[in-house]
């Protein structure tokens, strides 16, 4: 099982890397085509060029297939590993990073199906790939659970819910980046700002309830294990900060002067906070250090 999990993981990494390659080439090709047609005066100016590379081979579609393939491999890897370890992917950063990448891919796939904007993948796939490459730097060894982590059901749900939240935040981040890159005029062959804004919002609408639930479940665990639902442990606090930033984003969307660009910046800030919370284990101590790399 352990070996199977490793092989699936590697296959997953390769699929995602190839998918990203397809997207990049398809996007560049589409832009070149777009410029040519624009020069030829064919009048597609200002329109949306989705990454669908209509130049012969439909690379974009292959990219998406590869995303599904990668998702399948990573799902298999996580399942094999769960069987091998007997618990969900919460015991160390190796497991959790794969799960994070899985969440990002799954949410990207979901939003791609809905909105047909492969260009989101240009940002979301690198995020997933970075997580996977990071996982590769961590030994995959299976260590038995220290007592604090022996709460399999609760922690598995806690992580599963967190993964959905993080995945949607990656998508919101991707859309926000594109929103800002595109600028006011919308002339860079990207989806319209309106659409990007909508994608971000819809992603946060899914992610925010899940993040809320993640924090609540974390509080339940803290109560059972440490005798208090909240202790301002740095990891808890960081997740609260993340929650507040996304909360402010939801409100910002109905405040004059905060819609649009500022809201997009809040999404970048929110994603930075997400990563800060995620990697927090590495540089701040606290209760969660039990779940980190050092078996305190």
């Amino acid at each position: 099982m352990f070996k199977m999990s490793e092989y699936s993981f590697i296959a997953g990494v390769l699929s995602v890397a190839l998918a990203l390659g397809c997207y990049v080439i398809a996007f560049v090709a589409a832009r070149v085509m777009h410029q040519r047609t624009a020069l030829a005066g064919a009048g597609a100016g200002g329109g949306t060029v989705a990454v669908d590379g209509r130049g012969g081979v439909n690379l974009g579609a292959y990219g998406t297939l590869l995303v599904y393939l990668g998702l399948t491999f990573l799902t298999a890897s996580l399942i094999f590993r769960t069987v091998a370890t007997g618990h969900g992917p919460f015991a160390n950063m190796y497991e959790f990073s794969i799960a994070f990448a899985w969440g990002t891919l799954a949410m990207y796939a979901y939003f791609e199906r809905r909105y047909h904007q492969r260009v989101l993948g240009l940002i979301a796939l690198p995020v997933a790939l970075a997580m996977l490459l990071y996982a590769m730097t961590i030994p995959a060894t299976i260590d038995p659970l220290v007592p604090a982590l022996q709460n399999n059901l609760l922690l598995s749900v806690h992580v599963a819910v967190a993964i959905v939240a993080y995945g949607t935040f990656s998508v919101a981040f991707a859309a926000a980046i594109l929103y800002l890159v595109q600028g006011e005029n919308g002339r860079r062959g990207l989806p319209s700002r309106e659409l990007l804004d909508e994608i971000s919002y819809k992603a946060v609408v899914v992610g925010f309830p899940f993040l809320t639930l993640t924090i609540v479940l974390g509080a339940v665990w803290a109560e059972v294990a440490w005798g208090t639902y909240w202790s301002w442990d740095p990891k808890e606090t960081a997740s609260l900060v993340t929650w507040l930033i996304y909360g402010s984003y939801l409100h910002a969307r109905v405040v004059r002067g905060w819609r649009g660009e500022r809201a997009a910046w809040l999404l970048l800030l929110g994603f930075a906070a997400t990563l800060f919370t995620y990697f927090g284990n590495l540089f701040f101590g606290g209760l969660h250090s039990y779940s980190g790399l050092n078996n305190q």
């Binding site: 809905r114 260590d143 038995p144 659970l145 220290v146 007592p147 604090a148 022996q150 709460n151 006011e184 700002r193 309106e194 804004d197 909508e198 919002y201 819809k202 609408v205 899914v206 925010f208 309830p209 809320t212 639930l213 609540v216 509080a219 109560e223 059972v224 294990a225 440490w226 005798g227 208090t228 639902y229 909240w230 202790s231 301002w232 740095p234 606090t237 960081a238 609260l240 900060v241 507040l244 930033i245 909360g247 402010s248 409100h251 910002a252 109905v254 405040v255 004059r256 002067g257 905060w258 819609r259 649009g260 660009e261 906070a273 800060f276 927090g280 701040f284 078996n295």
Partner: protein
């Protein structure tokens, strides 16, 4: 500033729904109360407060925070502050004065919490009647221009009679679980239809907002009326009073720490027995993640260590002490573990010192403890320092001390939190409220059916908020309507 095209396209009436949140700043009524009210219900105020709280939280993660309860002990606090100097240098004092080293107890934090809560409550109070009206007495009639501008819209002309057209529009909505309200204009030529779904969904925001208040109340109740002792060390074989008005005492019958083959811990388990007024009231084995709940008091496994079973007999042969002494403190150099015996009658404080595990001390060998005897109260006059060997009584200060055997102690957290129930209730409402807003999105649509010269015109329009699936559903729905409108003859 940068409004999206979507927002601009929404007709005035609906834009008001959105923009009225951040009105208030423009108004300047003379009345201070009213000004305050407008300040607190402004979404901009709310936004700034939420972000301010986030900034404080960020500071709290980036700067080392004082362990809770440390401030109660000025000397320990000063020592702790000193230990930060290498890290923060000259800033240490400044950070401390600004309260940034215990930020979640600082005036900044409390102040922002108070403002934020006021704002949340004011917003909800301000908004709830409006939501109530939308749910109970919605606006049912829309003018034709609404359908031209609505984010989702459809217009079609068909051969059906107006009443039959209304029925088909109605059934299209009903089959999708919408409630419909039909309103006929005086002449009978124009019929308005209003349809909505999950009309209570928007109350999720009110629930979410109020639940924050509940959580805060729970936290305040907990910190005012609860207690949390993070360091109750109970030596195996001994019984200790819990205190804090619980009337309970706890005995540790056994403690086991188990390890995996790689040396990392696999289990900590304590067999506890609880007594109230000398009578046993409960018994259980607790572990990390498996506390003992006795009424409103909960016992958690937290730490453990070595203990020394000690027996003290006075000159008359009376046993004045016979218990395990948890060696619960570490010496400054980390080489020794220290426990304490208070002998109130004799007016003595005795420190029991053993070598820390893994440390070798030529003075205190295995099977030995060092006793340091002080007179209680007076600024620590040491009477004697003696090494005692297991099983060999030794006379010190007129008393006979025996180090009976080594034992272990189990370290418990004992807590009572009468506010927790509010916190959990608030948490459930928070998650439920947010899920209600986002996963049971209120859908609202209007239709206008009018007899015209070339048939019956049907306009359908809807506005969308937090709703991933509505656009697709709307298309499906209007396709149904179009098909029905065309009538059986066209089929």
């Amino acid at each position: 500033m940068t409004q999206t095209a979507r927002t601009q396209a929404i007709p005035r009436t609906d834009r008001e729904l959105i923009d009225e949140f951040d009105e208030g700043l423009a108004v300047s009524p003379a009345d201070i109360g009213e000004r305050l009210w407008h300040f607190f219900i402004s979404m901009r105020t709310g936004l700034v407060l939420i972000l301010a709280l986030a900034v404080l939280g960020l500071i709290g993660t980036l700067l080392v925070q004082a362990p809770s309860g440390l401030q109660a002990n000025p000397q320990a606090y000063a020592t702790w502050l000193e230990s930060l100097r290498p890290k923060y240098g000259g800033w240490t004092g400044i950070l401390n004065t600004l309260g940034l080293l215990s930020i979640f107890g600082s005036v900044w934090f409390k102040g922002i919490m108070v403002l934020l809560m006021t704002s949340v409550l004011a917003c909800s109070a301000n908004r709830a009647p409006h939501l109530w009206k939308l749910a109970v007495h919605p606006r049912t009639n829309m003018s034709e221009s609404f359908f031209g501008h609505a984010p989702l819209s459809m217009s079609a002309v068909g051969s059906l009679e107006p009443l039959a057209a209304v029925a088909s529009v109605q059934s299209a909505f009903r089959s999708r679980h919408f409630r419909t309200i039909v309103n006929e204009d005086a002449g009978g030529d124009t019929i308005h239809l209003y349809a909505d779904r999950f009309r209570w969904g928007p109350f999720g925001t009110v629930i979410a907002h109020l639940s924050l208040g509940l959580i805060l109340i729970g936290a305040l109740v907990g910190s005012s009326f609860g207690f949390r002792n993070t360091g109750l060390a109970v030596s195996v074989g001994s019984r200790v009073d819990v205190g804090n008005g619980t009337g309970l005492s706890v005995e540790a019958r056994n403690f086991t720490d188990s390890y995996y083959t790689n040396g990392s811990p696999s289990d900590y388990a304590s067999d506890l027995v609880l007594y109230r007024d000398g009578k046993q009231v409960d018994a259980a084995t607790i572990r990390v993640n498996q506390p003992l709940r006795a009424g409103d008091v909960t016992f958690y496994q937290s730490f453990y260590g070595a203990a020394a079973a000690m027996k003290v007999v006075d000159g008359t042969g009376r046993v004045v002490f016979d218990q395990g002494v948890p060696l619960e403190w570490g010496s400054d150099d980390g080489k020794h573990r220290v426990g304490q015996i208070l002998l109130a009658d004799a007016g003595l404080t005795v420190y029991v010192v053993g070598a820390a595990s893994g440390e070798v001390d030529p003075q205190i060998r295995p099977g030995q403890m060092q006793l340091e005897v002080y007179r209680s109260g007076s600024e620590g006059t040491r009477i004697a320092t003696q090494i005692v060997t297991q099983g060999q009584p030794m006379k010190i200060a007129g008393l006979e001390f025996t180090f009976v055997r080594e034992r272990q102690f189990t370290g418990l957290i004992v807590a009572r939190d009468p506010g927790a129930i509010f916190v959990w209730l608030g948490a459930i409402l928070l998650v439920g409220g947010i899920a209600l807003v986002f996963f049971f999105p209120n859908r609202r649509a209007w239709a206008l059916i009018r007899r015209g010269s070339d048939g019956t015109a049907v306009h359908v329009g809807a506005i969308v908020r937090h709703d991933v699936g509505f656009e697709a559903d709307f298309k499906c729905l209007t396709d149904d309507i179009k098909r029905a409108l065309a009538g059986p003859s066209a089929a």
